[in-house]
Symmetry: C2
Subunit: 424 residues, 2 copies
């Protein structure tokens, strides 16, 4: 039977989950996968974590060099997080020809170029299923399930924290700050929630996933990123009444015009398969030229779901004679080689406060007309001497909407209180 020795760097939530799965399922993998996987080493300075998992003292390493030089270790699992130390340690073990499995989306988004080159040079594998969408095997699907397709579009709910907050706001009418506080109390959000609520986490993941889907390196810096901190419960409620649900959506599209990649709050029709993805669940909805629409749905985070992806990578690596590398052009200057679309097409939801006077609506409509924006739905509700106008447009372009908003705000007619994209 094939024997694989594993080292785990970092026994936090995800590393601890992987440790538990590997130790509890060792016999199961012998029977079902014909491979004996043993955890040979861990690197974790926190004694409390080691004790909570019941890690035997003899497998606790003192430093990365011990692991890099250990001939019994074939695969190193990196769950340290952050990029500086993680990058250094991953390079150390790749130099020694050991394969790496990581859950670190920021590391992959920022340093894949360098890490893959090093891995190839030393005939080591580099696997990162756990870096995107927890237990959902989206990376394996892009590599080995829909690689027969030209992917034209990918839309995802790929951050559990923001989806929990938006679901709460939608279902219970909670304010953003109250929903965030609850998410923090439940451990779904960090004390410093910026990585999630400002969309950085989703942007890193989208950079990785769109690179694989479109076979070309998409730097995370090219992802248009807007978080959910400015989202107001009033707009969620008004959109809901019109049949929409607000999600933090990651969108990647490829057409003859180029590639567009963006993370921002967006309304989806409630019938869309992604609209009912609630709470901490995640999903990716992609469209290929042969397969058509395909959706993967599951737990986007957590110790065991993400641990499941890590162990899946270990078993996948063990099942292969040669490592499997990415299929994308790992160019050093994607900014030059790839054409990015920034003035993308979308529909828009807008909320305006208008002076409720005769003729105002026609003047507002004229401004929309000036920028070739046509209106799909319009709802006016009176409020003393003002009125609230909610407008959903037909598909138009980003620049047209920005111009119309500037024009409206510069006029005496109306104040634009909120603008949200509507995705179909």
């Amino acid at each position: 039977m094939k024997k694989i020795g594993v080292a785990i760097l970092g026994l936090g939530v995800v590393g601890g989950g992987a440790y538990r799965i590997l130790t509890e399922h060792r016999e199961f993998y012998k029977t079902t996968q014909a491979v004996d996987i043993s955890v040979e080493c861990v690197l974790e300075p926190n004694r409390a974590r080691l004790e909570a998992l019941g890690v035997p003292d003899e497998i606790v390493a003192n430093n990365i060099a011990e692991i890099a030089c250990d001939p019994d270790v074939n695969i190193v699992v990196e769950c340290i997080g952050g990029v500086d130390v993680a990058r250094e340690y991953v390079l150390d073990v790749l130099y020694g020809g050991k394969s790496v499995v990581t859950s670190n989306k920021e590391l992959i988004a920022k340093y894949y170029h360098e890490l893959e080159r090093t891995a190839k040079r030393h005939s080591a594998g580099l696997y990162f299923e756990a870096s995107c969408v927890g237990g959902v095997p989206i990376i394996r699907t892009l590599y080995d399930g829909v690689q027969s397709n030209k992917i034209t579009s990918m839309m995802g709910i790929i951050n559990g924290t923001t989806n929990y907050i938006l679901t709460k706001m939608t279902e219970e009418g909670t304010s953003y700050s109250a929903a965030l506080k609850e998410a923090q109390q439940l451990g779904y959000a960090e004390a410093d929630p910026d990585a999630d609520v400002e969309g950085y986490d989703a942007a890193y993941k989208l950079s990785v996933l769109s690179s694989l889907a479109f076979h070309t390196k998409i730097p995370y810096t090219k992802v248009l990123r807007e978080g959910i901190t400015g989202v107001c419960e009033e707009d969620i409620a008004r959109g809901k009444a019109l049949g929409y649900r607000l999600k933090l959506l990651a969108v990647a599209k490829q057409s003859e015009e180029g590639i567009e990649v963006r993370v921002h709050p967006a309304f989806l029709k409630k019938e869309h398969p992604l609209a009912s993805v609630a709470g901490s669940y995640n999903a990716v909805f992609l469209t290929g030229d042969s397969v058509g629409d395909l959706m993967l749905y599951g737990k986007g985070a957590g110790d065991l779901p993400t641990g499941s992806a890590i162990v899946s990578d270990i078993l996948y690596a063990a099942s292969r004679v040669e490592p499997r590398y990415s299929t994308f052009k790992n160019t050093a200057s994607p900014e030059k080689d790839v054409k990015f679309v920034t003035d993308f097409a979308s529909s828009y939801y807008m909320r305006l406060t208008v002076n409720d006077k005769t003729g105002v609506l026609s003047k507002i409509a004229a401004i929309f007309g000036k920028y070739n924006i046509s209106i799909l739905e319009l709802l006016q509700t009176p409020e003393s001497d003002k009125a609230t106008l909610v407008i959903v447009t037909h598909e138009t372009h980003e620049a047209a909407i920005k111009n119309a908003v500037a024009k409206l705000n510069a006029s005496e007619l109306a104040k634009v209180e909120a603008v949200l994209r509507v995705v179909s």
Copy 2:
């Protein structure tokens, strides 16, 4: 660059789809997968099909021997359908050490044991992603995405024809026969629809998928199979009013008691992710001990979606040095080695006609009580001297329900008009 020569047996809907994808994407696969895949041979006696696809004469083979002996062919795609000729041809090419990719669920469900043994003996690969759920990469997910998990449950809508018919009946109140006729006119159902509507197609697929999920051979003969021919629009409508949607559901569960595998119509709560899988879409919802709930959703049939799965298998095979075999115990006598549960647990929907007299309801309730069946919902509607009683039970067992139905029908109290399982 690696070169792969492909032969396609049968250019019907699926084989034709694979041919089109392979010829149209040849350059794309060179760039993105570093492999040059050429269709070297086809075996298809129907001239019209060859002409419709524009197949050059020089690649049309006269018989299987030409293909089996062709040194330029590495992978043979079997899309003939049926089992006799398909089995013979597949064995012929496996003997020659060529790998096989097939879309034939019946072949895999009935002869996997023999085919896999032959493939291993000749170091050939045997891939069948296209045999189950069209373009949805569920087999790859079981092999390489959730292989780290003990799968406890799998539920699927895995037959597009019946899902189209039931969706039509649910949304428009159409009768079964009218919905079937429409499905036939649209090409979703065969002139002889038995394979689909009697659940054979789903049972073959469930046999294959549950074997992979539970790592042990599950013969299709062990799948409890009930089709949709007896389903009545009245029950669909009454269930719908209670918040349920009727689906032809494939269910596989594994617990300490054993394995249960079944295909039958079942009500699902409308909030269940599977309940909104409509029309010709398919989905598989599985639960693993680490990953939790995971759903894959997409097109379950059609030339290009199923062709996508075939070409994905070809590219997967091309990416490997050694073939990937199934991970299940391919025992010759699974009937003896595996414990199957037949008296499984479920909730039930029942529709009864009752004589509307004082005391009848309490006597009916007493019969349910006798078999320890407790009632979750009850709805009585009057109709002249009779009344219709709709009952949804709490979880009970198959045997208890059968006994209660027999007792009710033998009594003067009521006639049981319909019984349907309710799955949560």
